[in-house]
């Protein structure tokens, strides 16, 4: 018995449709969230993340309806986020069917949000998303979809986030995101070895070897990707078979 490493497809949505872009910019349509959710559920995804990347501009009811319809399709855990700034907004997302809530910019601006969410839903439901960009001597936390710099060091922020109540870290390399040149394993290892909670690596995935590397050298507990799954560049089952063949414990559905 031991805990399997998780493969997590991510649906970046504009509230209603799945979209994608490089370095958080130049968005284009990538499909229907409900159809993709059903496909990933059947293909053996271990979890699903659905983000509203246009939360600041668009209305929430659309996104809540998307969560509701996606949750209907799933027999695996669902994490939702994007623009959650209050306990009330988180409650709406959980009521719509999310098992976990992910927060990013709002937690940087008001760290107590993590404690409030953790007190209400439990640490296992609170995912702190960190967008990290390489700088001299470490990684800097970026906010607002990676566009804005902060004075926070990513490793210190991760540790503080866990103290405040986060039960998991969703770590995205801003440098690698959208490049398909592989995860930043150095970043992932630095954060994963520095916190007591699981870390989900994100940003840069393309090849099965990238996943193997982030699970071994990167010490990641889970790995997240979007477009390679949406575009069927990589099947989840083939990826998991590759990982198992290379000694990584993964869940292969029956």
């Amino acid at each position: 018995m031991s805990l399997a490493r998780r493969i997590i497809p991510c649906l970046d949505t504009d509230g209603a449709r799945v979209v994608k872009g490089v370095h958080f910019e130049g968005l284009r349509d990538a499909g229907d969230p409900v159809e993709l959710a059903a496909r990933y559920n059947a293909e053996g995804a271990d979890e699903l993340v659905v983000l509203d990347i246009a939360a600041a501009r668009d209305n929430r009811p659309t996104f809540l309806d998307t969560i509701r319809r996606v949750a209907e399709e799933l027999a695996i855990p669902l994490t939702a986020g994007g623009g959650i700034r209050s306990l009330e907004a988180a409650r709406a997302v959980v009521r719509a069917g999310a098992d976990k809530i992910t927060v990013n910019t709002a937690a940087v601006e008001r760290p107590e949000l993590l404690s409030e969410l953790s007190a209400e839903f439990g640490a296992q439901a609170v995912v702190l998303a960190i967008d990290a960009k390489r700088e001299a001597g470490g990684w800097q936390v970026r906010i607002r979809g990676g566009r804005e710099a902060t004075s926070l060091n990513a490793k210190e922020w991760a540790q503080r986030g866990v103290e405040l109540g986060a039960g998991e870290i969703l770590l995205t390399s801003v440098d690698r995101d959208g490049t398909q040149s592989g995860f930043d394993t150095e970043l992932t290892a630095a954060i994963s070895n520095g916190v007591s909670v699981p870390v989900i690596a994100s940003g840069g995935a393309k090849l099965p070897a990238h996943f193997l590397e982030v699970f071994t050298r990167g010490a990641a507990n889970a790995a997240l990707a979007a477009s390679i799954f949406h575009d069927q560049v990589q099947s989840i089952r083939a990826l998991k078979e590759f990982l198992r063949g290379n000694g990584v414990e993964v869940r292969l559905p029956c």
Partner: protein, 201 residues
């Protein structure tokens, strides 16, 4: 099959309800003591902090009717915190009394592994049960918790391990409980729920 799903405000109530409905159960979601008193098949879900569950059961006067329903033989399934609540106490909320239907104490998993124990893990079956009937050997189930039941006890049907062994499946007369989330555990989880509904019928 009529199922009474105890809704004390836990986050996973809607997904448990959805999973039971998919299997054809007629689910009534309630937090009223009189409904528990009449129930023949009860499901207690739960996720988060155990003080929230125990506190809500007491605040809504659900403790006694629940214990009495189980005592008179109603089929019971506890999920996650719904398993932990069966014990006498929990390290997570030392000042609160558990339901005390099983002896022992729920304790925190060791610090030498990442917590919460979050993700898909397998089981080691200790004895044959109705709950795990037709579940393939080596099947994975979804866990999300930092506290866990003891490793031993006569209620033990299967264990899992994360830092230490803990009881992951309980089947003792009409008391069934699982530490994992069957409603989030794909087809293997659905099979466990199906088995429970069949045994309860």
């Amino acid at each position: 099959m009529n199922v009474t799903l105890i809704d004390y405000g836990a986050g996973n109530v809607p997904s448990v309800e959805r999973a039971l409905r998919r299997l054809g159960a007629n689910v009534e979601t309630t937090n009223l003591p009189e409904k528990l008193a009449r129930a023949r098949c009860l499901v207690l879900p739960g996720v988060g902090h155990c003080a929230a569950l125990i506190g809500a059961l007491d605040a809504r006067s659900l403790r006694q009717p629940l214990i009495e329903a189980i005592g008179r033989g109603a089929a019971f399934l506890g999920i996650c915190l719904g398993l932990q609540a069966l014990y006498e106490s929990s390290e997570e909320a030392p000042d609160l009394r558990g339901l005390g239907l099983l002896p022992g104490r729920v304790t925190r998993l060791p610090e030498n592994v990442k917590l919460p124990h979050m993700g898909w893990n397998t089981l080691k079956t200790i004895r044959a049960t109705r709950l795990l009937d037709s579940v393939p050997f080596g099947a994975y189930f979804y866990f999300a918790h930092s506290f866990a039941a003891p490793a031993e006890g006569k209620e033990r049907a299967a264990v899992s391990e994360h830092g230490r062994e803990f009881i992951a499946v309980i089947e003792q007369e009409n008391i069934c409980a699982v530490q994992f989330h069957p409603e989030k555990s794909g087809e293997a989880g659905a099979q466990v729920l199906r088995n429970f509904l069949r045994a309860a019928a």
